[in-house]
Symmetry: C2
Subunit: 119 residues, 2 copies
């Protein structure tokens, strides 16, 4: 066995520094590396974060379905993490991603795209 290595640019101690909440989850923000749009916010447990760092595909934890899911496995709209960062107090994750197709299940590029502007 060779020693494991990150497929993703990330601090080597990242996993040990994450402050998961009392449900074992941490919010994860995905930002498009090209457009710089914030695409979505979802939740990760430790396993989802480990898988993301290992595979370079974004994994999340569904609180409603209580299961891990890999972004794009159903829709084909895969998300490829290039860099993973923690915030200063370790309780939020930021992913720089290459997004294939729309990030949102509604077909919008971003889950934050739906707003009207006051009218």
């Amino acid at each position: 066995m060779t020693s494991p290595r990150w497929a993703v640019e990330a601090e080597s101690t990242l996993l040990d520094r994450v402050v998961f909440n009392d449900q074992g989850l941490v919010p994860a923000i995905a930002q498009d590396v090209t457009t710089r749009e914030v695409l979505m916010m979802a939740w990760m447990n430790r396993e989802a974060l480990e898988l993301t760092l290992r595979e370079g595909r974004a994994w999340y934890y569904s609180r409603s379905r209580q299961e891990l899911w890999r972004k794009g496995d159903t829709s084909g709209h895969t998300q490829h993490a290039q860099r993973v960062r923690l915030d200063c107090d370790g309780d939020a994750v930021l992913l720089d991603v290459v997004q294939v197709g729309p990030a949102c299940h509604t077909g919008s590029a971003s889950c934050f795209d739906a707003e009207a502007t006051g009218d």
Copy 2:
């Protein structure tokens, strides 16, 4: 009395569509309108979001101190919201902000700036 108006670009029904968690909170992501950096993630209760929409200054709710706080009141590093959006399922908020000075209490421009890259 004149009718209230948003100081911030936001969907008029935004407040009614927010899905607060069982603690009455919603995660809020602040993105710099100029640099496009994701600056921080914090929490808002309904009052913090209402104040942000009304004032155009970013308000958050501190879970540890259990109180509202207005970004920059202590540090001087104020945050001015230009646009507020909800995600597709209403359980995350995205703020486009003009950030005065560093967003992070560590002095970094972003709370996600502290990472080393694998070394």
